[in-house]
Amino acid sequence: MRLLRPLFVVLLLAAGASRAATLPELFQERLKSVVEVEFFIQSEIDRQPVMVLGTVVDDQGTIVLPGPAIQPTVAPGQLKEFKVYRAGNTEATRAEYLGQDAYTGWHFIRVEPKLRGELVPITHWPAMKSAPALSEELWGIGLRGKDEDFLPYFLSSRVATVMKLPQETAICGSDVAGPGLPVFNTTGEFAGLALPSFGQNYLVFSRNQHGSPIMLVNIEESSAVQLAREVLPYLHRIPETVSGRPLPWFGAYGLQPMDPDVAKLLKLENQSGVVLSDIASGTPAEQAGLRDRDIVLAIDGSPLPRLKPDRIVAGYFSQQILLHRPGDTLNLTILRGSERKEVTVTLGSEPKLVREAERHYFDRLGVTVREFLNADAISMRVAPTEHRGVVAHFIKPGGPAATAGLRPEDWIREIDGTEITSYQQALDLLHAVEVDKERSEVVFLVGRGAETAVIRVKLI
């Protein structure tokens, strides 16, 4: 390296380049760390193409994609035909979906070996050791779409502020990179990953509207950058399973920030806290003896940080839980009334998620039913032990079920007057309906919020 560096400088001087001239070179080099990823989400009746930007994180062809690229209700089995494209190159290389990491929210994919040699992981480049200073210039890469051959382009801006959200995030004055792509400083050090863009408030003026507020979100570029030190330590969190498990479970669904005025009134000046509520029975939180209105002040002896806006602390608390594994214990310092208490919670394993739920599409009815989950019990406000019925997961537009008034998320409790006590029972009944060509109707009893309705589906 010592030998090479002077040579490098000499070459640059020979070319008569100034310092600014290195940026195009850096840009060309760093392009090897970015890709565009195409895949399909297969639904019951169609497939929806998705294009998303990704960053290469290791020599094994592992690529991270931003969390919002895939809706949480989509089952991994619905994700089809991942293809990876390099900047400015239309050649597609297949990739495999590895799952979503709960803490970072990133989706991980791995590209086939043949492309790996062409890619350079982001960890290959030096990283910034500290947060960028205000006004420091950062730059990044944007990629155009498939019809423009994934043409790369250069973006740059200066740091306007650095905030904890709860991860340290630099907000630039204007867009610095495509969401999910890396951002660098002018010496080429890795500064962080661009987050999905934040909304910007505007007023719309027109003949009829005099300054109506709207929010614009740029889906192609972003000015928010999660700093390198919030990114690099978590790149190894490649999911062990495609479902993202193991996943820890705490079980309090109401996590509200304690606002500073409340803290002052409770004589907790300069402390931060999270008010717990909606603690379902049978959850680890309940088993640990936590109750509605308990205020969590510290985890394992570390006080919760004061973050702005106040609500960020609830996100911080959730993320601290997600850094653990099922079976881990957390020592929480809580305030109950005026009494301080220590409570030890043994984290459980997150009950089955919607994306993991068994589901089946019945084409003649035009409905997908899925098994009833713990999360459904919580949203329907029934005891989790009362798991009965199935849930209408998808309703085919214009299909018999849709025409009869069945809606997504309806809780199907009876089929033809038979109470449903298991998913398999519902499948058997509906299969029988599907194959019976003499059948002209099927009657569902469904729950919807606090209401119920008898719905008669006429079969064609």
Binding site: Y253, M258, D261, D278, G417, L445, G449, A450, A453
Partner: protein, 434 residues
């Protein structure tokens, strides 16, 4: 000659009856309190009404004059303005009863005429009717049409200022033009007899207007004059239309009321009634609820029972027939009492038993935030429309009066108040700071 003579006599009768009716129709201007946006505000509205007795009782719509009215001014046919007071109010039938200030009438030597009721049950589709009222403030407007349907079910869970309406009666449908401001005015036959109280119309549709039948209005107004309100019985059964499902439920022809839903915690729920059940008889009476217009009379037959009365139901569930017995309770609206705490910039509505059941709350503790005024303590604390305040300081808000007491103490000595509120079962803490 005879043929020519009869219509002439008819016309004379029409004009006499009509004259009398027109003398009885009034314009009603209302100034009332509104508790939106964290404040107590005055708003105004215009409607119509009809004088139905010689002692100055006026029938109008519940959505024209409500208990929040602070000033009601009536314009008589003689173009004289007289004050009036609200006597009774019933949002379920969208009817309100006012009484003219008779002392003022006497002092100013004014006169008025009372209209006569006709028999709304005797109306037939196609019969000519007239609507009289104040559409868009155009006083004494007469429009003509026919009875389009005399048994139209029309249930609206938020129809009268957010209150429920139409569950217990069918409506008259007419193509006589009915516009905003016609509300509360009479629908009359050619002889000037009141057969309905005009109440609503489909906005954006043409000539689809609805009126409360006079036979309902007569009964309700008598009770409102006597008691000021109407007490109804409730069991928590939400009926569905059985139409075409008789075969599925293996029912005899023209029998049964389908239970579409059972309100959680209601008498029907406690008695074990379940959605999907079919009620065959109610207190021994056979039920026939196949079509939507058959449901309001069945609902009414439950509503007129005394509160606490025992109801015997014969219920078909699958192949079983069950006998269930339950006690009615008093029907309560989802809309509770409203109030504004002006120094907090907070307007609220009491959570009622019905609201709590509908929203799956544990009980009726709390007040719903209707609105907050920007810059006032409630808004500064972060409270928003839709939050349910359950506790202030150490006081559980079981009654609106509890909150009024806390507020009274705050007004005398403003100190920070810790507020507990929930939204979608998630509890948050707030501080109301002076």
């Amino acid at each position: 000659m005879a043929i020519l003579f009869l219509p002439a006599a008819g016309s004379a009768a029409i004009s006499r009856g009509f004259d009398r009716l027109l003398e009885a129709v009034v314009r009603i201007d209302v100034r009332e309190i509104e508790f939106a946006d964290g404040a107590r505000r005055f708003t105004g509205g215009i409607g119509s009404g009809v004088i139905i007795s010689n002692d100055g009782v006026i029938l109008t719509n519940a959505h024209v004059a409500s208990p929040q009215a602070v000033e009601i001014s009536v314009t008589l046919a003689s173009l004289e303005r007289v004050g009036a007071k609200l006597v009774g109010w019933d949002h379920w039938t969208d009817l309100a009863v006012l009484r003219l200030d008779l002392e003022e009438v006497k002092r100013r030597k004014l006169s008025f005429t009372a209209a006569e009721f006709g028999d709304s049950d005797a109306l037939f589709p196609g019969e000519t009717v007239f609507a009289v009222g104040t559409p868009f403030g155009l006083t004494r407007t007469l429009t003509r049409g026919i009875i389009s349907n005399n048994r139209r079910p029309f249930e609206d869970t938020r129809g009268v200022r957010g209150y429920e309406t139409g569950l217990f009666n069918n409506w008259l449908q007419t193509d006589a033009a009915i516009n905003p401001g016609n509300s509360g005015g009479p629908l009359v036959t050619e002889d000037g007899r009141v057969v309905g109280i005009n109440s609503r119309a489909y906005i954006g549709a043409e000539n689809l207007g609805f009126a409360i039948p006079s036979n309902v209005a007569r009964r309700v107004s008598t009770e409102l004059v006597r008691h000021g309100s109407i007490t109804r019985s409730y069991i928590g059964l939400v009926p569905g239309v059985l139409q075409d499902l008789e075969k599925f439920y293996a029912l005899a022809v023209n029998t049964g009321l389908l239970v579409n839903g059972v309100d959680p915690g209601s008498p029907a729920a406690r008695a074990g009634l379940r959605p999907g059940d079919v009620v065959l008889t109610l207190n021994g009476q056979k039920l026939d609820g196949r079509f939507p217009e058959q449901l309001p009379p069945i609902q009414q037959s439950i509503a007129v029972l005394p509160v606490g009365a025992t109801v015997q139901l014969s219920v078909k569930r699958g192949t079983q027939t069950l006998a269930l017995s339950l006690q009615t309770e008093k029907l309560v609206s989802r809309v509770g009492e409203e109030w504004a705490f002006e120094k907090w910039g907070l307007s609220v509505r009491k959570v009622t038993r019905t609201y709590a059941r509908e929203h799956q709350l544990a009980d009726d503790t709390g007040v719903l935030v209707l609105g907050v005024q920007p810059g006032y303590p409630a808004a500064e604390a972060g409270l928003e429309h839709g939050d349910i305040i359950t506790k202030v300081g150490n006081e559980l808000v079981t009654e609106l009066d509890k909150l009024k007491q806390v507020y009274g103490a705050y007004e005398a000595n403003p100190t920070p108040q810790l507020v507990e509120a929930q939204r979608d079962r998630r509890i948050s803490l707030y501080v109301l700071k002076p």
